[in-house]
């Protein structure tokens, strides 16, 4: 017999599902292949998703499995046709019944690291799902949400009754609703006009491209981050923005005013532009001697 008391019910493993089986009718071309920062959105979203889940899959229609962009990743093909995005989730739940699914639409180009990190951190495994409350209409956002294993029965039953709308499913379920840390993170891009407007906006922000940054943590920040070092992709343009992003993830207690910053092992200003490959250290109040 174990010397330890029985642990509280463990949360089910978290897998990721990128929904790329839509027909992109309004866009007029494949939304998963639209480029942002020079990379197809499917590739960007999978990179983001893979950092937060144990395994990540692309959800596809049965006739899309050979598409070269989608074939680069593990796939789950729909088993039901013409019912919209719930087809992908149901197929995934049937393939791997014991896991929770972090479901993402493939038309969320502004989705950021801290938004996904918050969703995962504040996941409520005892509820049916964890989702964000839309910053536009206050309703649950079904396509950037975590569905627990026990959501499958009610969801399948609802679809069997002809109810295919995932938002209505969440509205009638026990859902933990979170406020979005970044109010634009879940803005979706459905039409060529929306895509054009967003591209213009992104071009106006030279630092918007993802950068690979290494961060080393020391002392109190090391303990609060639970790690000495990590490599991450970020849109942060300055150390100030990067610290804000990481504070969202790790709940650092030190205000930036108390810290100094080093980039590539030299002291730098908080507003120094970050470059791809930089190594950043946030320096808590020192106490040598």
């Amino acid at each position: 017999m174990s010397a330890h008391p029985a642990p509280r019910t463990e949360a089910a493993p978290l897998y990721g599902l990128l929904l790329a089986g839509g027909r992109s009718t309004r866009m007029g071309r494949d939304k998963a292949a639209l480029a942002y920062d020079g990379k197809p959105q499917l590739e960007r979203a999978m990179a983001l998703l893979q950092r937060h889940v144990a395994r990540a899959f692309v959800s596809v229609r049965a006739d899309q499995t050979a598409d070269p962009l989608r074939a680069r990743y593990p796939q789950i093909a729909d088993t039901r046709a013409d019912i919209g995005p719930v087809a992908g989730l149901l197929a995934a739940q049937e393939r791997h019944p014991g896991v929770a699914w972090l479901v993402l639409a493939c038309d969320l180009p502004l989705l950021d690291e801290s938004t996904l990190a918050q969703l995962v951190r504040e996941r409520a495994p005892q509820r049916t799902a964890t989702a964000f409350r839309s910053s536009h209409d206050g309703l649950p956002e079904p396509l950037c949400a975590i569905y627990e294993p026990h959501s499958h029965g009610p969801l399948a039953a609802s679809v069997a009754r002809g109810r295919h709308c995932p938002r209505k499913f969440l509205l009638s379920s026990d859902v933990r609703l979170l406020d979005e840390p970044n109010p634009r993170a879940l803005d979706n891009v459905n039409t060529a006009t929306e895509y054009g407007a967003l591209m213009n906006e992104l071009r106006a922000q030279p630092g918007a491209a993802d950068k690979r940054i290494t961060v080393q943590y020391y002392a109190l920040l090391r303990e609060q981050a639970g790690r000495r070092e990590e490599a991450l992709a970020t849109a942060a343009r300055t150390p100030r923005e990067l610290y804000a992003e990481l504070s969202g993830r790790y709940h650092f207690t030190l205000a930036p005013e108390m810290l100094r910053v080093a980039i590539n092992a030299e002291f730098r200003d908080w507003s120094t532009p970050l470059a791809d490959g930089d190594a950043v250290v946030f320096i808590p109040p020192v106490a040598g001697g």
Partner: protein, 155 residues
């Protein structure tokens, strides 16, 4: 000549002192910082030092070069311990040799002050009560508004 080093084993000041000997020097001043058994009312059992070593060594060498330059001293060196230290152990050593005592005292004082305030070195105190805390970090974070702590900490 100047060197800044981190060490993880106990410091032997006699050996460090010998490295500063110079026929042109008539004065030698040293400072030793020791682990104290109390801080701000709490009984301290042991300390833990951690550093961002690459930057701290660079900045430490800069401080020593500044001291040679400003005070006209001949040699200066500084050694700082890292890792776990018990009460009474030597945590930091500064030594300076110069033609005369005035500049040796002044440079020694300058080096230890700058080392304490500029080098990315952190100290975690482990208290007799069983608690522990990062000096200058935890009380600030939990207490007064951040703006009140934007100044460098003097201790």
């Amino acid at each position: 000549m100047s060197t800044f080093r981190f060490v993880r084993a106990p410091v032997e000041p006699e050996r460090l002192r010998a490295q500063l000997a110079d026929p042109g020097c008539g004065g030698y001043a040293a400072f030793e910082g020791w682990v104290r058994d109390h801080n701000e009312g709490a009984a301290v059992r042991r300390l833990e030092y951690e550093a961002f070593e690459v930057l701290a060594v660079r900045e430490g060498e800069r401080i020593l070069a500044e001291a040679l330059d400003r005070f006209g001293v001949t040699r200066a060196a500084c050694v700082h311990r890292l890792g776990d230290l018990a009460v009474g152990e030597l945590a930091v050593w500064v030594g300076v040799s110069a033609p005369h005592r005035d500049e040796a005292f002044a440079a020694c004082r300058y080096i230890i002050d700058e080392v304490k305030h500029r080098l990315p070195i952190w100290k975690k105190e482990h208290y007799l009560s069983g608690d522990s805390g990062w000096v200058n970090c935890e009380r600030c974070a939990a207490g007064a508004p951040a703006a009140a702590h934007a100044h460098p900490h003097r201790d």
